[in-house]
């Protein structure tokens, strides 16, 4: 019992959602033991919630006897506790523990199931649809409206914004050694890229979000473009999202710029300022033709003309080349993920799995996004500047720019650099996290919701699979990021843009996810990482290599082993420890008989023995 307590607490600290597999034994991992002292420290400090330690600022709202209808194990009797942060269930009916630990932010939808007069066992209860590829069903006693209170509480706390309440991130009192809000300083990042320089300048024109309310305050634009030019260009770009620099190639000075679609409309409007502005971008490094990557399928771009949008026509932009990347819109992606969920939860579709997987088109979309990013990266590394946009420039555009930057710039493949990449291209440039995820909002059918960011993380995962030594971070980081994308425990992924975050004082009132990550980075380090500064990574965007990320999408199935770490990764760490142990032993031996042994060794003619000292010294240095 004590062990269990420690275990769940310890895992909670590391990763609350990941660890909440439906059945506790699957959580068992060496990790649980290693941090158990931590756990006891925590549990002393906090009021225990059944078996799990609550977070600072977390408060219990209701406890209730309930039956969990586990899709794998049939009905499990137990007790559910709901706090302002999570739903926690623990069984009471058998010795083998069954627990659920679900942050309320993950909940997409709560529904009543059956009525007071429904027949059949366990037909009266609640059905909870989650954003992280699982559903939960609970049954209650039919007499006395037993579910009314729990339903109402769950509904209220899962969707606080719909009830005039605050998201948990604003209530959390968590403290970390590291302050994650400091990981990204725009000016510092631009300086790292070698900016500003004679071609590109930093502008503060948007410091009060007057030019564009969904852009960050600090922008990098062509040196030759005046602030007045920028204002005029803004009138011709959807939501004033003008082309600005995302990334600068230090050697060939080619750039990735991003923006929204031009406001061409049905009549085919033109804007001299916009045309000149694009030419200025092109001229900055002497690119002969500026390549404009329109992420959309051609037809979609045309269709957008009806609503005032459109694309850059050949006539108007003679020094540009337009390429459509055929990536579908947010609605298509949402439906695709829905289909994927259908075939993996609760059970994996066993007959014709591959055909079923194909029919979801999920991997096909991944392929299109990746191959779009490859094209961008290839263009830029060949010395040509590019511009990327879709309709508004905050979904597909963010995917393409950040992925191509990940391919081009090894800095973004480090643990810190990846955080900068997300802060810059996604959070800073206004990917609408609030609308796409629907944080704290009851409107589950909102057409604005879409798994665009998940799709991006999936693309990153595909790259880490193809290049296992190229990334400093591991799969676990990606899973934790996705878990907290929904959890609302951290401020990182809240709100749609920087201006909204600023007016809500997010940096002051909430904790950053990077505070959690950077306070214990060892969990997220890929042991195979080999830094290579100048290498451009071109993943193979082919169905032959793209795989379903089973450790994320199929992780709730208890028939699958839940490994905290990939076995190869784990083994590598064991070998590292063994190596260090040998080194230590050898060092001791050398110290104990330094003089006589060296003569002995020089006498023996083996090459290894001849140079033991050399070996020892240089073997030690890298670590």
């Amino acid at each position: 019992m004590t062990f269990l307590l420690c275990l769940s607490v310890a895992v909670e600290e590391a990763n609350p959602v990941m660890a909440s597999a439906p059945i506790a034994p699957y959580n068992s991992s060496p990790l649980g033991n290693s941090s158990s002292q931590n756990a006891s420290r925590e549990s002393l400090k906090m009021e225990p919630l059944a078996d799990v330690a609550v977070l600072p600022g977390e408060e219990r709202v209701i406890d209730k006897e309930i039956i969990y209808i586990c899709p794998f194990n049939s009905a499990v009797k137990g007790k559910v506790s709901i706090t302002n942060y999570r739903l926690y269930f623990k069984n009471t009916d058998s010795e083998t523990p069954v627990t659920l630990n679900v942050p309320l932010g993950v909940i997409n939808r709560v529904e009543k199931m059956g009525g007071a007069s429904s027949r059949g066992e366990n037909s009266y209860g609640l059905e909870i649809t989650c954003k992280d590829m699982r559903n939960l069903r609970f049954a209650l006693k039919q007499e006395g409206h037993s579910r009314r209170d729990i339903f109402e509480i769950l509904f209220k706390y899962a969707f606080p914004l719909s009830h005039g309440m605050q998201l948990f991130a604003f209530l959390s009192q968590e403290k970390y050694e590291e302050n994650g809000w400091n990981v990204y300083e725009p000016l510092e990042e631009y300086r790292r890229q070698g900016l500003p320089n004679s071609e590109w300048r930093v502008t503060f024109i948007n410091k009060n979000y007057e030019l564009c309310d969904t852009y960050p305050t600090i922008l990098v634009v062509p040196y030759k473009a005046t602030d007045e030019d920028l204002r005029r260009v803004a009138t011709f770009r959807s939501r004033c999202r003008i082309p600005v620099l995302s990334w600068f190639h230090k050697e060939n000075h080619a750039v990735i710029t991003r923006c929204s679609q031009p406001l061409v409309g049905m009549s085919g409007k033109r804007n001299k300022d916009d045309e000149r502005y694009l030419d200025v971008i092109r001229e900055a490094n002497g690119t002969t033709k500026l390549t404009i990557y329109d992420a959309r399928p051609n037809v979609n771009a045309v269709a957008n003309k009806a609503t005032g949008g459109g694309y850059e026509g050949d006539d108007a932009y003679q020094n540009a080349e337009l390429v459509f990347l055929d990536i579908h819109n947010i609605h298509v992606m949402r439906e695709s993920l829905k289909k994927l969920k259908d075939i993996v939860y609760p059970n994996v579709e066993e007959s014709h799995w591959l055909s079923s997987l194909e029919s979801t088109h999920w991997l096909e979309h991944i392929k299109l996004v990746l191959s779009g990013a490859i094209q961008v990266a290839d263009k830029v590394s060949s010395g040509s500047s590019v511009m990327v946009h879709c309709s508004d420039g905050w979904d597909r555009t963010a995917q393409l720019t950040s992925l191509s930057m990940l391919m081009l710039d090894s800095y973004y493949r480090t643990l810190g650099g990846f955080q900068v990449l997300l802060e810059k291209e996604w959070i800073g440039f206004g990917h609408k996290f609030a609308s796409r995820i629907g944080h704290g909002d009851k409107n589950h059918a909102d057409q604005d919701r879409s798994p665009i960011f998940l799709q991006f993380i999936d693309c990153v995962w595909q790259m880490t699979k193809q290049f296992p030594t190229a990334f400093e971070f591991n799969e676990r980081l990606l899973v934790v990021i996705l878990d907290h994308l929904y959890s609302c425990r951290f401020g990182t992924f809240l709100y749609n843009c920087e201006s909204a975050r600023e007016s809500n004082n997010v940096r002051v009132k909430t904790v950053s996810l990077w505070s959690l990550i950077n306070s214990d980075t060892s969990l997220y380090i890929n042991p195979f990482y080999t830094p290579e500064s100048s290498r451009v990574l071109y993943p193979v965007a082919s169905m032959r290599h793209l795989e379903l990320w089973v450790t994320y999408y199929i992780r709730w199935n208890p028939r699958i082993q839940h490994q905290q770490q990939s076995p190869v990764e784990q083994r590598y760490k064991e070998l590292l420890a063994l190596r260090d142990q040998y080194l230590k032993k050898l060092e001791e031996l050398q110290l104990s008989d330094s003089a006589p042994s060296s003569t002995h060794l020089t006498n023996s003619s083996t090459p290894n023995a001849a140079t033991p000292n050399q070996h020892i010294t240089h073997l030690q240095t890298p670590f």
Binding site: V323, V344, V540
Partner: protein
């Protein structure tokens, strides 16, 4: 990062070092082009000024050279060693541009001017002068030669020769006979040509009773004995001379029962579980009148050999598994989508095409069936009989998979090789027919062994640290089937080998000396094919047994028997009461068997059973515990958790290659670490053991292919020549007719899509 010296020391097996400086040799054409011949190998025909197509962007013109057909291989000797073509292949029997005739699946001649095409067989006529020769290979390569500058007659002749010699009329025309025979002629020294089938190898061949004795001891099968009644193959033509039977069956009984079985195949013992349950394989009983009686006698003998007198469970493989034709059809479809269909065009439907090939489904079915058998042995403690009509195909796969899952010894290199010896070679898997070496009967051809290797790969892929070998090893083992010199893959059964090699020796008046028959090399003598350095690619740096082995000074960790009472009581708990006494009622067996079949069927028809079956619970329980790599291993059977064996099936596909990527890059890093650990170990040993064999060559020889050589201020980046195809290279090995050379850059917008002039010409066909 790499000094010039290191470039030299890099990989040489299939891939060239990228930075070579051989451009300074334009005076090459004077050089005489000669095929490198093996003992017994003769040149049959040749053509000059032939162009080999190379599908890569940088050498548009392909390679010019001489095409030679010998009685062993199709050899191409290039004129110019272009920098990228400068392979230093250390395959000891086949050069970089060589294809063994046994590997050639189809010989296609094309005349693109006349728009004609013909698939050539043996002794055929060709009415047009070929401009092009396409060789479709069994290992998924497609090799193309152009005859634009070659003499039309010599081109035709060499094509006909290749077609003829790749269809040998008789087993004794397979090159292995000449090769081995010649070695008897030439040398009089004692080692007989270095062919050493048993000695020097740690792999038991199971061709003598002592190997079986050791296996009986190792698995604690005390109630089983080696039977010698088939010496001289007098009882059964397809059984080995030595095999293992229950102690309670006397030779006399066996002789009597033998005639009831298909091909007189007396049931064979395969392996004993630590609980005492046996795994036995058996062919159908051909005599229906005797069936009941014989079956009962065999069963009761097996029961008697069980320490708990547990019952026997019969697993009918023919009913539950795809047959050999199904497997062959699946592979053909798989090949179609992997290498024949244009890459880009097949992308969209890749997953559903893969699905409809059914290959992955079959892999899964075999693994699943093996798990069901494991459940019977491991959890129900009953002995299992694998029942197959001939007992020579499906049983080989299942018995091996069961042992791989249960017995960690089989996951070591020598354990694995011994397993294949025991369950495939000695049990009489018809390699000659299944490989279709004589290209006689397509009906008999079936990649059962490849399917088995794929199943092993799935296990390996899920538990890479549990195996001593790597996926390169598995791939190379599969390829070795097409090098027709190894006794392992040349024959249908031990008797056939004995007969053919005796006949051949007498017809060629070869003096065999002490040998009974020609001694063919075994594939397990890897030095026949690879240098010691290249063989280190087989060693898995993750293998857990490895460290223990090193520390314990070379002693191989063996399978430990857990026969304690405690063990039994903890596992017997869930059994029906009847089982505890060791006497399982007939009804009980029946229900078990039905439910097993029901599960397989329900699986196909998508009927989901609400109630968890005992075997499902067994699997779930196992997965709920931490994995012990030195104990039972069960594969994850969800289709989402099985993958395509990319190294084997996609290694030649240029578009699918991940340059400087793929699992090999992590493997490289692991190897370096393991190498470092080995170095430290040997240093520690020198400290500890003072004068104790400091010059032992074994300790000096690193087991790792990649070694710590550079100044390790920083861990070195993966070498540039690594790719997901490593150690193989798509270059020149996959030229699809018509769409030659779709380079990787097709994905990259703006990069020029290279089309050679000849591709354009071909499109008019």
């Amino acid at each position: 990062m790499f000094s010039g010296k290191q470039t030299k020391a890099t990989f040489k097996s299939y891939l060239p070092p990228l930075q070579t400086d051989s451009k300074k040799s334009p005076q090459l054409p004077i050089k005489k082009l000669e095929a490198k011949l093996l003992p017994g190998e003769i040149v049959v025909n040749e053509a000059n000024f032939v162009k080999k197509c190379i599908s890569t962007e940088s050498c548009q013109d392909g390679l010019w050279g001489k095409l030679v057909c010998t009685n062993f291989k199709v050899s191409f000797i290039p004129h110019n060693s272009l920098p990228l073509q400068r392979f230093q292949c250390t395959h000891r029997l086949l050069g970089e541009h060589d294809i063994s005739l046994a590997c050639v699946e189809q010989v296609v001649t094309v005349n693109d001017v006349k728009g004609k095409q013909k698939i050539l067989g043996s002794n055929q006529k060709l009415k047009f002068n070929p401009t092009e020769l396409v060789l479709y290979c069994k290992d998924f390569r497609i090799i193309r030669f152009r005859f634009d500058e070659a003499g039309p007659e010599s081109a035709k002749k060499v094509c006909l020769a290749i077609a003829h010699y790749s269809h040998p009329a008789d087993p004794q025309l397979l090159f292995g006979f000449e090769y081995v025979g010649k070695r008897y002629h030439g040398s009089t020294d004692e080692t007989v040509n270095g062919v050493d089938p048993g000695g020097g190898l740690q792999t038991p061949l199971f061709d003598c009773s002592s190997d079986w004795d050791r296996e009986i001891k190792r698995t604690g099968a005390s109630e089983w004995r080696v039977c010698t009644i088939n010496q001289g193959y007098f009882i059964s033509p397809s059984l080995p001379e030595f095999f293992v039977v229950p102690v309670s069956l006397a030779d006399q009984d066996l002789k009597q029962y033998a005639c009831c079985f298909y091909s007189q195949r007396i049931p064979l013992w395969c392996w004993n579980h630590s609980s005492g349950s046996a795994l036995v394989r058996m062919s159908n009983i051909s005599d229906p009148l005797q069936q009941r009686k014989v079956e009962q006698r065999i069963s009761s003998a097996i029961i008697k050999s069980h320490p708990l007198r547990s019952d026997v469970f019969k697993s009918d493989l023919d009913k539950n598994l795809p047959n050999i034709q199904d497997i062959q059809t699946a592979l053909l479809k798989l090949r179609q989508i992997c290498v024949i269909e244009p890459f880009e065009e097949s992308e969209e439907k890749w997953l559903s095409s893969l699905d409809s090939s059914r290959w992955m489904e079959y892999v899964r079915t075999f693994l699943k069936h093996a798990v069901d058998v494991v459940y019977m042995l491991e959890s129900r403690h009953v002995s299992v009989i694998l029942l197959e009509k001939e007992d020579r195909d499906l049983s080989c796969v299942i018995s091996c998979l069961v042992q791989l899952m249960c017995d960690p010894h089989c996951r070591s290199l020598h354990g694995f090789q011994g397993l294949i010896q025991k369950e495939w070679v000695m049990a009489g898997h018809r390699f000659l027919d299944r490989c279709n070496h004589l290209k006689k009967s397509d009906k008999e051809e079936s990649p059962v062994f490849l399917l088995f290797l794929d199943c092993v790969w799935q296990l390996w892929n899920q538990y890479p640290a549990a195996f001593e070998f790597t996926e390169v090893y598995l791939t190379v083992l599969g390829d070795s089937m097409w090098v027709p010199v190894f006794s392992t893959f040349l024959f249908n059964c031990p008797r056939q080998r004995a007969e053919h090699s005796r006949d051949f020796a007498s017809s060629k008046s070869i003096h065999l000396g002490q040998d009974q028959a020609l001694r063919f090399p075994s594939v397990w003598d890897w030095s026949q094919q690879f240098s010691l350095k290249d063989q280190t690619l087989f060693n898995n740096p993750l293998y857990v047994g490895k460290i223990a082995t090193c520390v314990q000074n070379g002693t191989v960790k063996t399978f430990t028997h857990r026969r304690s009472k405690k063990n039994y009581s903890s596992t017997v708990r869930g059994l029906p009461s009847a089982m505890r006494n060791g006497s399982l009622g007939p009804n009980d067996t029946l229900t078990r068997r039905n439910s097993l079949m029901l599960r397989l069927r329900s699986d196909l028809s998508q009927v989901r059973e609400q109630q968890e079956t005992p075997s499902e619970r067994f699997i779930r329980d196992w997965f709920s515990r931490p994995v012990d790599l030195q104990a039972l291993l069960l594969p994850q059977l969800l289709p989402s958790h099985l993958s395509v064996w990319k190294l084997y099936f996609l290694r030649w596909v240029p578009e699918a290659q991940i340059p400087q990527g793929g699992p090999i890059t992590a493997f490289h890093k692991l190897s370096l670490l393991t190498d470092e650990i080995e170095t430290l170990q040997s240093q520690l040993r020198q400290y500890n053991g003072a004068g104790c064999t400091p010059n032992n060559p074994h300790t000096e020889h690193s087991k790792m292919y990649f070694k710590v050589t550079s100044t390790p201020h920083q861990s070195p980046a993966p070498p540039e020549y690594l790719s997901s195809s490593f150690p193989f290279s798509p270059m020149g090995n996959l030229c699809r007719p018509g769409i030659l050379g779709t380079p990787l850059s097709k994905f990259l917008n703006g990069a020029k899509i290279w089309l050679s002039t000849e591709t354009l010409a071909n499109e008019t066909i």
